[in-house]
């Protein structure tokens, strides 16, 4: 029942830290890698960790309310999470967080905790948003323990990783 994960992949761990002083861009893949489509966020993080970007990359498996602690001190943040809104599986929703609140009510929470959009709105209410925040929601459907990501979700993860790589690499 205990998985001996390598140090870099512990829950909440940092997947890739740039060699130089910590940069001000952070990419967070949110989700549980063992729960089917909920692996979408972490899989984007893993794809980007090896891309040698001028950014820190993390996997976040804890609740949404803790995100504010994770992104503290960063100027530009990308969040990636699996979402459920009824759109076709593999749909990529993108939200650039500005003045207007995110449409969090359209998205289900997978637990009693906040979904990623609600976590952002909580941070906004507390004045804890980074200067620039983009949220990618990848539509998932299957979240049972031990299941694998649907192919549409895995493909969407590649698309999101490519998009972030292009934006950060510049």
């Amino acid at each position: 029942m205990r998985h001996a994960l390598p140090e870099t992949e512990q829950s909440g761990g940092i997947v890739a830290i740039t060699a130089a002083r910590r940069k001000r861009t952070l990419i967070i893949g949110i989700g549980n890698s063992l729960r089917g489509d909920d692996a979408a966020g972490p899989s984007v993080a893993r794809l980007l960790a090896s891309a040698a970007l001028p950014a820190d990359v993390r996997i976040h498996e804890r609740e949404g309310a803790a995100l504010m602690d994770v992104w503290e001190g960063y100027d530009r943040v990308f969040l990636v999470d699996a979402v459920v809104s009824g759109a076709p599986v593999g749909t990529v929703h993108r939200f650039d967080v500005g003045e207007a609140p995110l449409p969090s009510a359209r998205f289900a929470s997978l637990s009693h905790d906040f979904n990623v959009l609600e976590a952002v709105e909580l941070a906004r209410a507390l004045g804890c948003l980074p200067a620039s925040l983009a949220v990618f929601g990848i539509e998932g459907a299957r979240f049972s323990h031990g299941s694998t990501m649907r192919p549409e979700v895995a493909a969407a993860a590649e698309v999101v990783a490519r998009t972030i790589r292009e934006e950060v690499g510049t």
């Binding site: 829950s11 498996e61 804890r62 309310a65 803790a66 504010m68 602690d69 906040f114 209410a125 004045g127």
Partner: protein, 428 residues
């Protein structure tokens, strides 16, 4: 003559999935159902054939917010079966781990799940916009609780460091003492929270509850104690099943429990009423100064009791860490034998009972798990039977909200309540 049904299809700000159905006729409540529709999870079934050493890890998966409670109840049950005692530093470490869980569970519930009700906000996010200081305080207290669980348990969610006989690796003293400044802040912040929760608009409501909690001769209970009530119950945990019986109501996927046929109330308010004298003097003084002198029979004051317990756990964590020396061994030896054992510990939401029957190789032959939310279900429904007629003059939306707030007094954990063995359906 008119019949009316009021429903909350999907209860918000509770862990898991449940709905509320209230059927009324001519202004009287005919039927109340706290209907859990989260699917049953059959843990008691698939524990059979597993090794006893796996029980702490498997049962921890019943719940994401109270895994420590499952690990503690299962360890104590199996250790009782094997005749093993864990005391001294390792006992203190288990208590410290439990303090971490109480702190994070209570801080989250008080600030983000329950307080919005008292202040008239639909959710914690809307409340946060107007009360950022209190919400930030709650989140920071919660994080400190998570940090304790991380250091002692090895991981914040589903700790990996707990084993029969103790731990896989006891933390070094300096890792714990590094937390002391944060814990001192958290203690003061929790005392502020006691005053804040007591100042919230608290609905008038009282019932003559039978409060059931653990009782230990020297300490506010977490891992050990007899099972007692404010109405004369006083038994060792080995007699639990002679008095506490679970039944399956047809409308719910969660079992409901009764004490000698009667509903009863477990959780922070029960512990508080039964064990008030064991709280430190300073906390008793603060609590009494805000109207919490026992007996406290208003379930809406459970939010204050949770704040008191949060402060207690912070203070207790400080005491345990200050007295801690890194032990030479992280666990005691455990030898299996054919046996039966039970454990009953105080999860954040109330007593959590485990019983295991084991063979001589340490394989689980039979398991029983009774979580606190299953034990509170009848009481939650009975509260509504009284609450609804008392508030019948309110507009329906407000009345329903008051009912939800009442359910949230129990901080129900529905994932825990749906773990059981058999699902008996009666189709009419």
């Amino acid at each position: 003559m008119s019949t009316k049904t009021m429903k909350v299809d999907y209860l918000a700000r509770v862990e898991g999935e449940a709905s509320l159905n209230i059927r009324m006729k001519d202004g009287t409540v005919k039927d109340v159902q706290f209907a859990v529709f989260e699917p049953p999870r059959f843990f008691e079934a698939f524990l059979k054939g597993r090794r006893a050493a796996e029980a702490p890890d498997i049962t921890a998966r019943i719940c994401g917010i109270c895994p420590v409670a499952y690990q503690m109840s299962s360890c104590h049950a199996i250790e009782q079966a094997y005749g093993v005692t864990v005391d001294g530093t390792l006992r203190d470490l288990r208590r410290l781990l439990y303090c971490g869980e109480w702190i994070e569970s209570h801080a989250l519930h008080v600030h983000l799940l329950h307080a919005p009700d008292f202040l008239g906000y639909q959710d914690g996010i809307q409340m946060a916009a107007d009360h950022p200081m209190e919400v930030k305080r709650g989140l920071r207290i919660k994080k400190i609780g998570n940090d304790i669980v991380n250091i002692v348990g090895g991981r914040e969610i589903h700790p990996i460091n707990v084993r029969l006989g103790g731990f896989y690796k006891a933390p070094a003293r300096q890792r714990l003492t590094a937390m002391l400044d944060d814990l001192k802040w958290a203690y003061d912040a929790s005392v502020e929270t006691i005053r804040w929760t007591a100042s919230l608009p608290i609905p008038e409501f009282e019932r003559d509850y039978e409060y059931v909690a653990l009782r230990h001769p020297r300490e506010y209970p977490m891992n050990e104690g007899r099972v007692v009530s404010n109405k004369g119950l006083d038994i060792p945990n080995t007699e639990f099943e002679q008095h506490f019986v679970e039944e399956h109501a047809p409308y719910s996927n969660a079992l409901q429990c009764a004490l000698d046929g009667r509903p009863y109330h477990v959780g922070p308010l029960a512990r508080y009423n039964v064990n008030f004298d064991l709280l430190p003097k300073e906390l008793r003084r603060v609590a009494e100064s805000v109207g919490m002198k026992p007996p406290v029979l208003n379930p809406f004051k459970s939010i204050v009791a949770r704040a008191v317990e949060t402060a207690y756990a912070c203070g207790e964590a400080i005491r345990l860490i200050e007295g801690y020396q890194t032990p030479e061994k992280s666990s005691v030896t455990v030898e299996p034998r054919a046996s039966t054992g039970c454990g009953c510990t105080e999860a954040p939401r109330g007593i959590l009972y485990h019983r295991y029957k084991l063979d001589d190789l340490g394989v689980i032959l039979d398991a029983k798990i009774v979580p606190p939310t299953a034990q509170n279900q009848k009481t939650m429904e009975d509260d509504l039977r009284q609450l609804v007629p008392e508030n019948i003059g309110l507009p329906e939306a407000d009345l329903l909200w008051r009912c939800e707030q009442s359910v949230r007094n129990y901080d129900p954990c529905i994932s825990c309540a749906t773990h059981f063995l058999k699902l008996n359906r009666v189709e009419e």
